[in-house]
Symmetry: C2
């Protein structure tokens, strides 16, 4: 059995590399330091912005905010940096809030918009108070510019004693400023809005007293009515399905407007999700047409996938569209509802992002907004598993991005969240739902949440490993040892208490001091791709659990994600290809233009739209439906980092029954590119040192480098940076 800490080997093996990578990043930072941008206290803008975004949910005209604690920014922030100038320079200052500016501790009168800084070494402080928005500054001189190298604090402790002497600031904690590429001083951070672009409807028809407009596919944005005239009431009923738009008594979202216009265009206030809209207006109200403003996060696709199977290509494309629709300022769950940041959903978006858009910004913003502020009073989103996914997200972010600076800055927030978790263990040291905790796992009828569920312990163990990893990065050796010890202990318990030798599976839960004998898929799946099992255990679980129809099936794309991942990790790509075609392909056959929150092939017609006891409660565009993005990148193209930021990585292509495939996987340094057929492979990488692992009937050949025969038809080739490899082999 592998130990989980072996999974952490990327930390140790690649420390040297990580250090040079940090040096490289800091060089970049210096090079970029000339570009001024808005900066703030890290996490504060992210929390503020997610509050704005998450409170845009409505349900049948009712404002529907989240039910967990939302935090607030620090209203008073001190920003500073020391500069060394060879010549004097004039510096422009833009501030969101009430402020003062000090040069070497001496304040300028009033609220200066421009100051002159003489040559020499100087410290600039700007202190900003803003209760309503996040205190933010934009400073632009020649050399003096605001960026993330400025230091910030919410507590500067600059007291003076009776002689006028300033005093002990030795424990003031300075953080690197937060930012998000806002380079325009006139564009205030609090005014930020996602971009929009106009889009036309596909069809417009008169239906039962209204106008039914079809935009041809699931979409998101603001309805715009052209040349609107008249006076009276106008209602817009939104539908992800035709049925929903027409069923005005049950449609999930609508706008009811009071119109008094004599022409011109009218755009609704609040963006919504829809494919159809049904517009019902009082007599005397008219409009020429309805179009929309499509609202989106402007992320570019870096990764890609294409193969000989057009259905798989279509699944990949619809997954891409689903992912883009569900990516706004942050990774959200779905676009009709909840438009909230849910940690479990976001965790899957992170993974898909690494294989498609590879946008670190959205991962970091989502991570910060989910974490919120101390004190921790509840699990993230009130869900125990969602707190734990948050740690896993940090682990993966470091692995995929190599961004040690962010995870290190994050360590204090990790520590206090973990302290909360550790404070909620039961007498066996296991996580068991306490009053007020939501143990979610999955939407599945009759799923027991009683006692200490094995699935939660699995996430707990990996969370503790993440703590050990980051403690090590910030050189808190004592912490690192403590967390590693705790992780080891939880993992040991997982096998001592939950492993059923007879069933050759991890059982679902441990209740009143005894393991149950009920087996579910959850813990078993995760144990496989966490690599917590021996090869023998894995093989057995495949048959006793994953391919065993008597174990309750998974019905949500959410957990299908992990089920498919586990099967891929066991080399069952052929099986997964079939499942993908039947499950995701099944949705496509029903006309899905984005993937759903839940899909049960046994249902038919409008039954598919119901959930939560509501006729159209189900979201038809849910991020967790887009998992093929991840599966095809990680387990078909087979590309995965093994060292932080792809300092080392593995490529283990698996066609899963396809004839050929080609694709790109983004890394911090650019794309790894791969073409793979049953006898031919082309691969190149701009980063790190890779290991190409092939199963071939005969020894493969490559012009560059040479394969090592690992036995059992497995061959390995070391891949060097920036070289192109063309390989002949014969797929097993």
């Amino acid at each position: 059995m592998n130990t989980g800490l072996q999974n952490l080997k990327f930390k140790i093996q690649n420390l040297k590399w990580a250090i040079s990578f940090i040096a490289f990043l800091s060089l970049c930072q210096t090079a970029l330091a000339q570009k001024a941008e808005w900066v703030w206290y890290p996490g504060d803008y992210e929390i503020w912005l997610s509050n704005q975004m998450q409170n845009r949910r409505t349900e049948r005209g009712v404002f529907f905010p989240v039910f967990w604690k939302i935090d607030n920014h620090y209203p008073l922030i001190d920003f500073h940096k020391v500069f060394e100038l060879t010549e004097p320079e004039e510096v422009e200052i833009y501030v969101q809030g009430q402020y003062n500016v000090k040069l070497d501790g001496k304040a300028f009168e009033g609220y200066p918009r421009k100051i002159t800084v003489p040559a020499g070494k100087h410290k600039i402080n700007i202190k900003v108070f803003n209760q309503a928005q996040v205190p933010a500054i934009f400073v632009r001189g020649k050399k003096i510019v605001s960026d993330s190298t400025w230091l910030v604090t919410f507590e500067d402790k600059e007291w003076i004693d009776e002689t006028g002497k300033t005093s002990d600031v030795s424990t003031t904690k300075w953080m690197n400023a937060g930012m998000w590429n806002f380079y325009d001083p006139k564009q205030l951070p609090s005014d930020f809005k996602l971009p929009v672009k106009p889009a036309e409807a596909a069809t417009s028809t008169k239906e039962s007293g209204g106008t039914l407009i079809d935009f041809g596919k699931e979409t998101f944005g603001y309805i715009k009515l052209h040349n609107l005239k008249g006076r009276g009431k106008l209602a817009i009923y939104y539908g992800e399905s035709r049925e929903e738009a027409l069923d005005t008594a049950h449609t999930e979202t609508y706008d009811k407007l009071n119109i008094d216009q004599t022409g011109g265009d009218y755009t609704v206030d609040l963006s919504k999700a829809f494919r159809f809209v049904n517009i019902i207006a009082d007599a005397g109200i008219s409009f020429d047409k309805a179009s929309m403003l499509y609202e989106y996060a402007d992320l570019q696709d870096k990764g890609g996938f294409k193969c000989n199977d057009e259905e798989i290509n279509k699944i990949y494309d619809v997954a891409k569209y689903t992912f883009h629709l569900s990516t706004k300022e942050f990774f959200i769950d779905g676009i009709k509802r909840d438009r909230w940041v849910w940690s479990g959903d976001a965790y899957q978006s992170y993974l898909m992002n690494y294989y498609l858009t590879n946008d670190n910004g959205t991962v970091k913003r989502t991570t910060l907004s989910l974490r919120g502020k101390d004190p921790v009073t509840s699990h993230i989103n009130t869900i125990m598993d969602y707190t734990l996914y948050w740690f896993l997200g940090v682990y993966d972010y470091y692995l995929y991005s190599g961004d040690a600076a962010f995870v290190k800055d994050n360590y204090d927030r990790m520590k206090s969240l973990m302290a909360y978790v550790l404070g909620r263990r039961n007498k066996d040291g296991l996580l068991e739902g306490l009053p007020g905790d939501w143990v979610f796992i999955d939407w599945a009828e009759g799923l027991s949440k009683q006692g200490a569920v094995s699935f939660e312990q699995l996430l707990f163990a990996r969370s503790l490993e993440t703590m050990a990893l980051v403690a090590d990065l910030v050189q808190e050796k004592e912490d690192a040892g403590m967390y590693a010890g705790l992780a080891k202990d939880v993992k040991k318990k997982l096998f001592d208490l939950y492993w059923n030798e007879q069933k050759q599976a991890i059982v679902h839960s441990y209740v009143n001091g005894k393991p149950t004998d009920h087996v579910t898929r959850y813990a078993n799946m995760f144990a496989i791709f966490f690599d917590y099992l021996s090869d023998a255990q894995k093989k057995n679980i495949k048959n006793t659990v994953l391919l065993n129809n008597s174990v309750p099936p998974i019905t949500t794309p959410y957990m299908r994600f992990y089920e498919m991942e586990a099967l891929c990790a066991l080399g069952e790509q052929n099986y997964v290809t079939k499942e993908m075609k039947s499950y995701w392909g099944g949705m496509l056959k029903l006309g899905a233009t984005s993937f759903w929150e839940e899909y049960n092939p046994k249902k038919s017609g409008a039954e598919h739209y119901a959930m939560y006891g509501r006729k159209y409660g189900k979201s038809l565009c849910h991020a967790w439906g887009a998992s093929p993005l991840y599966l095809l990148g990680k387990y078909y193209l087979g590309v995965k980092p093994t060292g932080a930021g792809y300092s080392t990585y593995t490529i283990e292509p698996a066609l899963g029954g396809l004839k050929w495939m080609e694709g790109k996987v983004p890394t911090p340094a650019g794309n790894i590119e791969l073409y793979c057929s049953t006898n031919n492979i082309k691969v190149s990488s701009p980063v790190g040192t890779g290991k190409l692992v092939l199963k071939s009937k005969k020894a493969p050949s490559s012009k560059e480098g040479s394969f090592v025969n690992k036995g059992n038809n497995v061959y390995e080739l070391t891949l060097e940076k920036d070289k192109k490899y063309e390989i002949k082999y014969q797929a097993l």
Copy 2:
């Protein structure tokens, strides 16, 4: 030696009384429940408002915010209450923020301003999101009205599972809503401003290119220029002294305005402290006159004091004025600067308040705003002693007001603050300044802050006693025992480690495992009125410390407050009367119209105005200068509660050399009234059971009740509620 816990006896003895008092209060609440008012999450508005107030400080045109962490409100709050209606009623709803309204869990569409609630038992929920201001509601029906009986939370945990069922809210923490007598639905809490009234200048003269205006006494508000005409620059230099207003290069506050007016009045934006203003304008700018809008907190005087000595009467009046000027939305330190809420300063204002205005609201608001929010990252105002005064303030508030509800609601905040304090003890279990801690004690040259200062341990012990008291009130028996034990331990150490048998005094500090042999007044004074000493120790300290000129003198009115209190507690009123006349009388002789931050009789002329290395750095109106209000009430009239809310109390009049005095001391039920000459006393009380303690040459006589001879010329009479007592005696 008395134990400190004996001081807490009011808690035990009067528990029954307290319970009936709570029942009485809750009856009042029911009776008042028909009056609708704005409500919010308790503490949030107080924090928000103090942020606004404290960021009104400027120094020579520079915005000067606080240097400690300021907190923020919860942006998302759920309000609810269950009502039982005999008939349906219409309910108006006013909200600050974006909101929804639910009746028995079912939401109304949109943002209803009026709803109808049917007869029967119903639960109303209002959920409000507001990032910029504090979420607040005002609800007014016949029976359904918003008030502090509504329950609020920042985390309702109303999640639903896949069947649509709402889930575990068992651990949701509901608090009683906060409020501040805002009865007008159109007057939004965020728009609150202190009232103002116009006031005229005393004189106006031309001086060196400007107009010098004298308002006749220290005051506070907005300068108003009448019939202002012209275009150009106009500067207003504010002076607490004539010198400051004229010395434009050093005046502490000013306004520099750009004028472009053709008449009409102009009022400046920001209120300021001044007696004089010096207005210097460009040629061509003219105004008819300058007046002011006096800004004040509308608190009524309830207590009072008058005696045969006109100088003492004048001191009392100027102290009253100083106190009123320094009381705004919160108790602040001083009106020129800092206009901040400082815990040590506020603590003294609380005590003065109990003898003058007895306004619970300002005490509670100040307490909440000082406490801020978790996590605690620093001492209150960064000062160790100021954290500890905060606990003392809670102790006294309970003693004087009997308001158990507030201190009980406050318990969680007390606990987390004390956890911070306990986490900062040194290896001896003593409080010693750690890096970043400001050990203040007093403004005094050369005062050592090294090691564990005895003064801090004294405050620490009383703070722990406060914790034990409140833990007991909230029936956290285990906590109560723990805190009482800790208090006992700190007190024991105080005497084991700091008591110098030879010097018969508590020494100043304990450094590197050894007591120093330096004696200062601080700990010795507090030990007296905390009643931590035996009678013999007290008597010795009076001579070895308090009346010993070789012990460094106190120079601030801040510590004079406690020095005078200690002397009074030792029966040295005659001495204190002389000190009062020389020290406070000394300031009056220099023309003071309010009492100062610091007074050193050895200085002369404008030297008096300097502090912090600045010519006019000293505040000439500082709350801590007003202590005669407290001394005369508590130690001359001699009225003090011994049970919570004056359930029991003592009156021990001491003329201190005066021929006669008369006065009123407010209690929760009205005023205790007292007249006292050397042979005649009249007293009545509307509350509790009192003990009149007299020193008399012969047995006193009273028509009501009878005196008990306690020996040594001390006689005691039990005072019953609502009776008038006239007593003949012969003062010793």
